[in-house]
């Protein structure tokens, strides 16, 4: 009888201490989490209406360069395979290319060469066509598309809108 009372006390103590330990671990995990201010800064809103056809812009989102290219109508990706057409974002009447400007090989930042209409990565010679699809060299896949949401003529980077979900096949 005495033994079972000790066992009981032992279990009560163990549960109590275990609960405290778990609570402490949770607090430690949360302390390592990105702060609310950091999470809030994880969204970038860009107004696309002032952009001219053919204009190329770089904005920063989560510390990464985001390439935005407004396609002139005669120069959309029609001469390229269908797949690449899907990479265009329609905002209003115009089409835009929106992608994370990091080479998918080792993360260097490729250059837009307007006269050749290609992105060229100086690090290991990778090349992408005007739609950001890899055409030459070591890059394993086209440049990634950041999650976006369209709000009128504005683009919110970091939020997954219906157009983004459709594009990456999540819907």
């Amino acid at each position: 009888m005495a033994q079972s009372r000790r066992d009981f006390l032992g279990m009560v103590f163990g549960t109590f201490a275990g609960a405290g330990g778990l609570a402490a671990l949770y607090a430690m995990k949360r302390t390592w989490d990105p702060l609310p201010s950091v999470m809030a800064a994880g969204f970038t809103t860009v107004d696309l209406s002032p952009m001219k056809p053919g204009e190329f812009r770089t904005v920063t989102w989560r510390g990464k360069p985001i390439f935005i290219l407004k396609k002139p109508p005669e120069e959309n990706c029609n001469h390229l395979p269908d797949e690449t057409k899907k990479r265009l974002v329609k905002v209003g009447d115009a089409e835009y290319l929106v992608m994370i400007g990091l080479c998918t090989h080792l993360g260097c930042i490729p250059n837009w060469e307007p006269e050749k209409k290609i992105f060229h990565c100086a690090c290991h010679g990778g090349e992408y066509d005007a739609c950001g699809v890899n055409t030459f060299g070591p890059p394993p896949r086209p440049m990634d598309i950041p999650p976006f949401k369209i709000e009128g003529t504005k683009l919110v980077l970091g939020e997954e809108g219906p157009e983004y979900k459709k594009m990456v096949g999540k819907a």
Binding site: P34, G42, R62, G63, K64, I109, C123, P140
Partner: protein
Amino acid sequence: MAHFTKANSLHEWLDQRLAIDKLWKVLAAEYWVPKNINFLWAMGVVLLTMFSILVISGIFLLMYYKPDTKLAFDSVNYTIMQEVWFGWLWRHMHAVAASVVFLVIYIHMFTGIYYASYKRGREMIWISGMLLFVTFSAEAFSGYMLPWGQMSYWAAQVITNLFGGIPFIGKDLVVWIRGNFYVSDPTLTRFFMLHVLLMPLIIMAIIGLHFYSLRFPHVNNQDGEEIDFDAEAEKYKAGLKKESKVIPFWPVFISKDLFVLGVFLIFYFYLVFYHYEFAMDPINFDPANPMKTPPHIYPEWYFLWSYEVLRGFFFPVGSLSAMDMGLIAFGIANVIFFALPWFDKNDEVAPAARRSGFFVWFWLMVIDMIILTIWGKLPPTGFNAYIGYVAAVGFLALWAALPAVTARKKGLLGFVILMTLALYIAGYMEYAKTLGNGIVIVALFIIFYALFFLNPVFVRNRGGAQ
């Protein structure tokens, strides 16, 4: 309460309260080390000294270093290097020591492998030593981030990105580790904490464990001879110092150690004063810039071999991308040395020179790791990619072969070699783009990894004469 008499000296007073005489005997004056050893047995004391130098120089750097992305670069490169008296000395001592400590760790490690000092009761010495290797690596990586130059930044970016390869939680884990979506201020401050407090605390605790793990199995010797330490110690204490096979750590062994240490420190301070630049990458003297990747990034020399295992797989296999294949091999490479006592299927403790198969294995492993190190620094383009593949597969193949080598299973060894050669040919065809990502390469890798994981489990221990 215990009975205390009046002490006649400070020594006696302390001895009554702390038993310092007994403690000294246990730790040093009657801690027995075999006579039959060579200078390679001094690496432990060299490492302890290097760790002390790192702690002391680190304390002085800590007085002026500022863990803030806006201030870090200047606090190192301007304040410490140009304003603080002898600031340059602490920094160069710290950087050079961080680099050469790995040289000594590798020598220490391969001495243990060569003389079979990891088995027959010495497994915990080996495991605690490998834990020190891992924690020293984490310490080196976190410290490398602190000057906040371009190499600091991009090394942090690439290494934290590696965790993204973990299935399901990878992407969230990367953000969690960084405390932001990219390497930035919260990343710097938390790695600063790890570098100056948590990792050193853990390292010191493991050093304690490593020393303690030596006490029961004792230090190995050049012939792997099993010594009756109690009997030999009695002989020594009875005055038969010549006949005894052991010597006390203090003052006999330490005098030999200090000589080796002295030679090593001459080499170390020569580097500190005249060749510190090898530990100071010029690219790291550009401030960190998240918007510009340096054209060619590479880790410090002591990480190059595992980095090359990561990069060695340049083509996809089935549904796994080249990156996934590299990550799997890289993950294995970083933990596989822990399992050495169980890949070795021969109980005999003897230097590699007396175990013919193992002798070949040992030197092939050394050569392969040197090749991985050299190619780890070259750009992974053209034929370099294939050489990296050969060396990375070779590294895994050596482990797959080790149970067969040590248990003298010739048929199995032949099969491992055959599979490795098949992977080399298939890899060359992938390189020349004549094979394509088909069923052949998938099948070859499945068989290869099956050999890797099943051999240490199913090959029977050979026993081996003592």
